[in-house]
Amino acid sequence: MNAPAKPTALKAKDFASDQEVRWCPGCGDYAILKGVQKALADIGTTPENVVFVSGIGCSSRFPYYMSTYGFHTIHGRAPAFATGIKLANPELDVWLVTGDGDGLSIGGNHMLHALRRNVNMQIMLFNNEIYGLTKGQYSPTSPLGSRSPSTPMGSLDRPLSPVLFALGANATFVARAVDTQQKHMPGVLQRAHAHNGASFVEIYTNCIVYNDGVFASFAEKNTAADGELLLEHGEPMIFGKDSDKGIRMTPGAIALEVVQLGVDGITEDDLLRHDETNRVLAGLLGAMRNPDFPVAVGVLYCEDAEAYDAAVYKQVEAARSSNGAADMNALLRGGATWTVGG
C-alpha cells in the first residue's frame, strides 16, 4: 500500500513495499536491499519518481520489495526496458537490478549497449557467480573448473570480470561494492546516482544455497581488511589490517604490485594514488584478485560525458525550434500534391 501523501524526509524503511521478501534466509541480497533503501533515503528522493527495473533471477525480484515504481521484466533484457523508460521520460530516476547470469549471460549485449550509450541510470549487477533461481548452474563469472549441475566435471569457459567488461564497453562509471559492507555500499550507490549517464556497480553477493562462501577471502569481517582495497579518488592505495600494505606500479612494467610499507624503504609516496578518470588504471585495479592482490572496491572509474537520453531530447527540442510547431495537416500536404476538381 502506497500512501499518497509523503512526509518530507523519508527513511530507508519508507522505501520498502508491503510484499514479503522471499529470498532464502541468509541470502546476500537482503543486505543489498537494505543498502539500496538507505541510499535512496540518503539521496532524499521520493518513491514516485523512482523506477526499479530488473530481468529474471533471484536478484531480479528486487523491484517487488521497493515502494517505488517497478518492472520485473524478462531474462536479460532489463537494460533495454530501462532505456525505453528513459526515452519516454528522462526525468525518471531509473535503477536497474540484474544478476551475473541475467546481465552478463543472456543479457550481455543489452548491458554492453546501455553502457556505451551512456543512458542515465544506475545498473546494479548482483554477482554471486552462480545461477541462483534455476538452482545452481555456473555463470559467466564462475571460475574455471566450477562444478555445477550443468558442469559435473567442472566448467571449461574462462570467466568474465564484470568491471573489465564494463570498461571495455566504454562505460563512463564503473564501481564495486560488497553485500556485507553495509557502511560502504550506500556511498557507492550515491556516487552512481550522482553520475550523469550509465553507472555500473558490481555488487558481490553471497548465494548461501548454491555458492556459499565464494567471496570469503575478502567479504568477511576477518578477511576484509587484508582482502580488499578501498578506493578513494586522489588517495594513495593503502590496505591491510595494519594499513601497512600498498599498491604501486611495478617499476619498468605496465603492471601493479603489492608492497609492504616500511620495507625496502617504501613509503606512501611510492604508492599509486587513485585516479578515477584513468580508464587504464581502472582496468589494472579491476583485474586484481585474491590472493595475490586485494580486491578493489569503490569507484574504479568515472568520466564526464553527456547522457544519451539528455542528448535525445536536445535533438527533439532542436527539431521543434527549427521546424516550428508540428502541424499534422501541413505534414500530409508537404511535397508534391495535385487537386482533382469536382
Binding site: P4, K6, A88, N89, L92, L332, W338, G341
Partner: protein, 634 residues
Amino acid sequence: MVTSTAVQLEPTGTPREEVESVVVRFAGDSGDGMQLTGNQFTLATALAGNDLATFPDFPAEIRAPIGTTFGVSAFQINFGARKIATAGDAPDVLVAMNPAALKVNLADVKSGGTVIIDTGTFSARNLKKAGFESDPLEDDSLDGYQVLTIDISKLTMEAVKAHELSNKEALRSKNMWTLGLIYWLYDRDRETTANWLRGKFAKRPDIADANIAALNAGHIYGEAAELAGGMRGFSVRQAEITPGLYRAITGAEALAWGLAAGAKLADLRMVLASYPITPASNLLHILAAMKQFDVVTFQAEDEIAAVCAAIGSSFAGSLGVTSSSGPGIALKGEAIGLAVGVELPLIIVNSQRAGPSTGLPTKTEQSDLYQSVYGRNADAPLVVLAASSSANCFDMGIEAVRLATKYMTPVMLLSDGYMANASEPWLIPDFDSYEPFPVQFAGSDQLGEQGYMPYARDEKTLSRPWATPGTPGLEHRIGGIEREDGTGNISYEADNHQRMTDLRAAKINGIADDIPRQGVEQGEESGKLAVVGWGSTHGPISRAVGNMRDVGYDVSHIHLHHIWPLPKNLGDLLAGFDQVLVPEMNNGQLVTVLRAEYLVPAEPLNKVNGQPFKITEIENAIQRCLDGQSGDAK
C-alpha cells in the same frame, strides 16, 4: 478536372489513339535512375487525371556490377481512365535501358506489346554480361513484339552537348530523355518534372538544364517520329476520381504518419524503437525525421532490445512502437508475451517479406499471419490488424493506436514489402476530422482503500488502468510472473491464473464489439463464391472480382482489416456463400484461421514466389471455383 498545386496542364494537341488503361515498365541498370523516372511519370500521370498504381522492383544487391541481370532495377505503373487496382499483370510497354533489363523483363511483356530499347548499350560486352548468347536485336527473340530501337545514349549525349558535362554526367540524363519520350507517348506534361529537376539540382544548374534538355529532346523525338509515321501517341481519359487534394504516398510514409497521427489523437508522445531490416527500415528513417511531432526514435542494438525499449516506453507513459520484418518479429515473441501479460499498449509493425529465414528480403510475401496470431509461447492473445494498401496504412496506423491504448494491449500491424515501397495516389484527409481519443492516465484520485490496483479493470472494455511513474501514490510493480487479479502482485494461485487467462482472452475477444462490422467490398452479401482477402492482395482481388462480375459471375469480395479478433459478423457472412476462396501470398494461413473459427470449407489460393498476384491468376481461380473445381491450381 485536375489542377496541380504548382502548374496548370498544357492543353493536349494532336489527336491520339484513346486507350482505357496502360501498363508501362521502366527497366534499366541500378545506376540508370529507373525509380526516379517512374516516380516522375507517376506524378505527371496523376496530374493528368488518371487513376494509377505502381510497383517498384529493386535489385537485391546494393550496387551490383553494371550491366548484370541482378543489377536490374524496374518500375511498373498501371494507369487508366477507370479505377486502377494493381500495378498491372503484364506491361503494354517495356522500356529496356540495357541488355540485362531486356533479358530480365521481356518475358513479362504482353504479347504484341511495345518494347523500347536503348541500342546504345547493346555492345558485345553488355550482351555477354546480360547472359545473351546472341544479339536479341538480331535473332528472333523479339518476334511478336513491337520493337522501337533507339540509340538513346547517343541522342542524349547530343541533346546535352551544349551543357559541357563530363561524359559520365551527360549519360546520366538518359533516363530523362526516355521519360520525355514516354511523356510524349502518353501526352503527359513535362513542366512538373522540369521544376523538380531545377529544385533537385539547385546547386548544379548546368545539370538541371542538361536533364531538362534531354527531357525535351525525348519528347521532340516522339513528335518527329509520329510525323514520320513511325509511332503513334496515345491518350488516356481522365478517370472518375473523388475530387480533392491528392498526393502520392508509399506505405512506409502512410504508416509513419498514421502512427504519429494516432499518437496525437491519443495525446501521447510516441517512442519508436527499431532495428534496421529490409523492407521495414524506411519507417524508422521517416519517423527519425519527425522529432518535432514529439516522436522519439531509437535504433536499438537488435530487435529484442527494440521491442523491450518500446514496452519500457509504454510503461513510462508513452506510446511504445516497434517495427521490423518477419525474422526480426520472430525475435520479439518472448517480449510481446510480456506485454500481453502486463497489459501495456504496444504496437508492433511487421513489414512482411519472403521467407522462411532470411528468405528473399527484397521480395514481398504475406506469410507472417500465423506468427502474428499464434506465434508466441502460451496463451497470449493480442490484436492483429492488416493494412490493405499503401494509403490505407495511414488509417490502420491510427486504428492500431486506438485499440492499443483503449485496451492496454499489444497490436500487431501487418504491412508488406510491396505496399511499404509502392506508392499510390491518396486523397489527403483533413486531420481535424479525426475524432481524438486522448488517453486518461490514472491519477492519484484512483487510489482506493487498498492502495492503487493496477489490475482493476474497466467493466466494459476489461482494460486495466494506466498509471505512469512520476504519479505520487500510484507506485506499483508489474512483471512477467502471473499477476494477482486487482493488485498485480505475484500470485502462484491456481484459480487466479485461470481467471487472468480468461480475462486476457475475454478482453481481446471483446474488441470484436468495437470494430466495424465486416462488409462486402463488391458483390452481394451472400451467393455462390466469396473471395476473402487481407493485406496487399486487395488490389488484384478487387479487380479480378470486378472483372468476373462484369462478365456475370456470382462472386463477392470480402476484405479483412481486422485479423484478430475477427469481425463479429464474419462467420454469418461467410456462411451465406456456397464457396469461400482465400488468395494469399503464402502457403495458406488466413484460410486456416477461417476454417478453424467458422468451420467453413474455405479453399486456399496460394502464391509464394515473391511477386504480387496477377489479376488473371485470381480470375482463373474464381472461374475454377465456379466451374466446380477447387480454387487452388496446384
